[in-house]
């Protein structure tokens, strides 16, 4: 597609891409190539025995199949539950909407240890719902929906509320039914965001680790879990390398398919405008809103409520002892950092990781949004590959790849860098569609009215870019705050983050330890919800995309 107003020369695009690509080469491709290479040619000779071992092992084939189908089921379930919620939050104004929106983001940033514990409380032996769902696929899928709900609501909702509702109204005036107007007008405009959210959800569930490990019981393992076992527990690098390649191939194939869909269905620039929310009018609308809020309350609220409840639990009933204990650093030991310290560590890491991810991802998104053709699509897909790579592969890759020329392995920067590698694809995913959807005609109009290209960019692109940056930054911040996988696999300096502190507390006996862990989880939850609300307020009301990631 031709974009006269926005085409940058190929050289400028290359310049924009240089840094993000260099970053990913050094902190992703090189470590992964190193560890996979170590597995495939340990003694300097190519040794492909791992391939035979993997393909010939029915257990491993079973793992691959389970990984695939549970991800597909989880993705569909997430879309079914989250798309109506995205509609309600994007289109209706109601009391407490902002708080609901902020709370709906929380599950995404909670560390898996905490979510696992909450779901065990909800679906365990003494389940308040009366169902023992441990070890079932249903529990895994429910937890996946809980986790990824925000991805869909935020990605799709951000675009949805910026769409002009009048186009749909025009269609209805012309005689289309509500459903038909939605299908013919709104759905095509939303499609890029839906595809994007579905792909991210699929990648997330395809590479699911903590949820499957905790809730899946011994009978269910994903490739990610198996790669972890083969690498960290058994140091069986030949098999681990083959599995890592297999996972990478599967993810690559998915991305190629998605790029093809996008090429065929690329929508023209959709005009975004300030969000218009209406109060519910008809009884049908009221029921729709109430129904959706009820689903949110059950699916997202119940596990979160379980967490808070458990932070107040004592041996005899309920009390504040867990919270009080948080204030006292037990015995001045190095294990029990004060929660304040863990919170500060978490925030520090999150700020650095966010900065890295947004700057690098923003550059990449700017280049991708303006570029067309095969190369752009290829790069787009390549930037998503870190999502398809197991944290343990990257973490162990760091160990053997980053000791020269400077030994970075013990550096405190490694954790935020690893988190930035994880967050980068999300930033690119979030920013590219918004940047792409900027109507070139606006820019042309500005140029025609005599604005210089710089001014055109400043006054047309910048407000929308600013939103996209904020949306992406919140995404990256949230990922970094809750990130647990990469943080634990990398040997790191002793600066425990909140998720790490929670895991340590949960890992030892004694009632005070578990209530403290849940109190810390509650703090993490409040912190995230608070940050989301704050950014929302600071950015001002009623700009398009205010139910986007911030």
């Amino acid at each position: 597609m031709d974009r006269p107003g926005g085409a940058l020369s190929g050289r400028a695009n290359t310049a924009l891409l240089a840094l993000p690509v260099a970053f990913l080469l050094v902190f992703f491709a090189w470590p992964v190539a190193n560890i996979v290479g170590e597995g495939l040619r340990g003694d300097g000779r190519w040794d492909l025995s791992g391939v035979g071992q993997v393909l010939g092992d029915p257990d491993l084939r079973h793992v691959a199949w389970f990984t695939l189908w549970q991800a597909a089921v989880s993705t569909v379930a997430t879309l079914v539950v989250a798309l109506p919620a995205a509609h309600v939050l994007a289109r209706y104004e109601f009391r407490g909407r902002r708080i609901v929106q902020a709370l709906a983001t929380v599950p995404f940033v909670l560390p898996t240890v905490v979510v696992g514990a909450a779901f065990l409380a909800l679906l365990g032996e003494r389940s308040p719902l009366g169902v023992d769902g441990r070890g079932t696929v249903t529990a895994i899928v429910a937890a996946h929906v809980f986790f990824n709900h925000a991805v869909v609501v935020r990605t799709v909702g951000g675009l949805w509320e910026g769409l002009d509702p009048r186009t749909e109204e025009v269609a209805r005036v012309l005689g289309a039914s509500r459903f038909k107007a939605f299908r013919a007008v709104t759905l095509p405009a939303l499609r890029p965001a839906i595809v994007s959210a579905a792909v991210i959800t699929f990648l997330f569930t395809f590479t699911s680790f903590g949820v499957v490990r905790i809730l899946g019981g011994a009978g269910h393992a994903t490739l990610e879990v198996e790669i972890y076992r083969q690498t960290a527990d058994l140091l069986n690098l030949p098999v681990a390398s083959v599995l890592a390649l297999l996972q990478l191939l599967a993810v690559g194939a998915l991305l190629v398919v998605q790029a093809r869909i996008e090429r065929r269905r690329r929508t023209a620039g959709v005009a975004l405008r300030p969000a218009v929310r209406t109060r519910v009018g008809t009884a049908g609308e009221r029921a729709w809103l109430a129904g959706n809020l009820a689903v949110l309350a059950l699916l997202l609220g119940a596990p979160l409520a379980c967490l808070v409840e458990r932070s107040f639990r004592t041996s005899g009933g309920h009390g504040l002892n867990g919270w009080r204990a948080l204030g006292e650093v037990s015995r001045g030991s190095a294990l029990f950092v004060s929660p304040m310290e863990a919170v500060i560590n978490s925030l520090k890491f999150a700020v650095v990781a966010t900065l890295l991810a947004v700057v690098l991802g923003g550059l990449a998104a700017a280049a991708l949004a303006r570029a067309e053709g095969r190369t752009a699509r290829g790069l787009d897909a390549l930037l998503l590959l870190p999502l398809g790579t197991s944290a343990v592969t990257v973490g162990f890759g760091f160990l053997i790849a980053l000791d020269r020329p400077v030994d970075l392995r013990a550096s405190p920067w490694l954790v935020p860098i690893a988190q930035a590698v994880v967050a980068l694809p999300f930033v690119v995913r979030t920013m590219t569609p918004v940047l792409r959807s900027i109507d070139p005609r606006l820019r042309e109009a500005a140029a025609m009215l005599g604005a210089s290209p710089g001014r055109g960019w400043r006054e047309v692109d910048l407000p929308l870019v600013r939103r996209a940056v904020l949306v992406a930054a919140a995404f990256a911040f949230a990922i970094s705050l809750g990130e647990f996988g990469a943080t634990t696999v990398i040997a790191r300096a002793d600066a425990p983050t909140v998720p790490v502190a929670i895991a340590r507390l949960l890992g030892r006996p004694g009632p005070l330890n578990s209530t403290q862990a849940f109190a810390l989880s509650t703090i993490l939850m409040v912190l995230t919800a608070g940050a989301v609300l704050l950014v929302d307020r600071w950015r001002g009301r009623d700009e398009p995309g205010s139910s986007g990631w911030v």
């Binding site: 527990d233 004592t314 867990g322």
Partner: protein, 362 residues
């Protein structure tokens, strides 16, 4: 427009450049490849697992006495840490490793991961607690994995507490036991080793078949078993009164009780314990071998040894270190824990886990 865009990009890049510069700074001070004159204060890096803990004042006293600063590097669980060290052999990321046990010892020794060092006081360590007679690894603590039971359950139900592993097959105890998956949990693996040590290579599979028939529950990790399925702990959610945990869990129930309690609600079944000895070693390739030796001495010294029970909930190997009262009151110091030869573990671990998985969870 191009220029304004790029200038903006330049502004955005400034933090990265700063960051890169900062990276250089921080790594310089810890770079083990930079020996520096020996009179300078030395910083040692101690690679360890997530459960490592020491009281601040105890560690500070070491730094004051020796001038050596200790920097902790955590690498995940014990197995992951050892595997990381094997992977970085020759270019170690730390000077000393703490947290190697018999499960991974044989592999680490085969890989020649450690430099031999005879620590001050190591001659006093009881022989049954010595991990390596050639002093490549120095034993520091032991923390046995034992069955814990819910005292109230057995008192209320009027059932005797099982005394041996064999007892667990009794129909009287059906649906009462929860264990961890040995593929994903170190305590689960230790319990599997205990059953192999008791029933032998030929008998353990039949024993586990018996446990399955008697309704054993399997969880992935210790947390899920102890908090989710076990009934005995202070905030335990479950209904099963028997769990695979540690000899030190009952004292922990008292130390972290809420509100305070006099006596632990749980007890240890003595004849079910698997011995887990943890050691430390100087990583080959370190530039601070002499100082690393001082750190090993410290780990074996009375102040550190007496700090361990309440910070890591393990038992000291140094016979001069005394145990805190809460340990003496609420658990027995395990004496005859099951053990398997480390070479045998290394040769069969994967095969045992695979067999167990087929038998119990598939």
């Amino acid at each position: 427009m191009n220029r304004s865009h790029l200038r903006r990009a330049g502004l955005l890049l400034a933090p990265i450049v700063l960051l890169a510069a900062a990276c250089g700074d921080t790594t310089e001070t810890v770079d083990p490849a930079d020996p520096g004159p020996s009179t300078d204060p030395v910083t040692l890096t101690l690679l360890t697992h997530d459960s490592f803990a020491v009281s601040d004042d105890v560690l500070a006293a070491f730094t004051e006495a020796t001038g050596i600063t200790v920097k902790l590097l955590r690498g995940g669980d014990a197995g992951t840490v050892v595997n990381q060290a094997i992977l970085t052999k020759g270019a170690p990321q730390a000077d000393v490793l703490f947290g190697i046990d018999s499960t991974f010892l044989s592999r680490a020794l085969d890989e020649e991961l450690f430099v031999p060092y005879e620590a001050a006081g190591s001659e006093d360590v009881p022989e049954e607690l010595v991990l390596d007679s050639e002093h490549r690894v120095t034993s520091i603590d032991y923390g046995d994995v034992c069955l814990n039971y819910d005292k109230a359950y057995f008192a209320d139900a009027g059932v005797t507490v099982p005394a041996t592993l064999e007892d667990l097959l009794d129909p009287e105890y059906d649906d009462l036991l929860v264990v961890q998956n040995p593929a994903t949990s170190s305590s689960g693996l230790a319990f599997l080793f205990a059953t192999i040590a008791e029933f032998g290579e030929d008998g353990w599979e039949a024993y586990w078949q018996g446990l399955v028939d008697n309704g054993v529950e399997v969880t992935e990790g210790w947390e899920e078993a102890y908090y989710g399925s076990f009934s005995g702990g202070g905030t335990s959610e479950g209904t099963r009164p028997l769990v695979v945990s540690y000899a030190s869990s009952p004292p922990a129930e008292v130390v972290f009780a809420d509100p305070p309690v006099e006596e632990a609600p749980t007890g240890v079944i003595d004849a079910s314990c698997y011995r887990q000895i943890e050691g430390a070693g100087i990583l080959a390739g370190t530039d601070h071998e002499a100082e690393a030796g001082q750190l090993i001495d410290f780990l074996l010294s009375v102040p550190f040894q007496e700090d361990m029970p309440l910070s890591m909930f393990v038992f000291p190997v140094n016979p001069q270190a005394s145990l805190p009262k809460v340990f003496l009151d609420n658990t027995s110091v395990p004496t005859n824990g099951y053990e398997l030869p480390t070479a045998e573990i290394d040769a069969h671990r994967e095969e045992w886990i695979d067999t167990w998985t087929d038998l119990v969870v598939r």
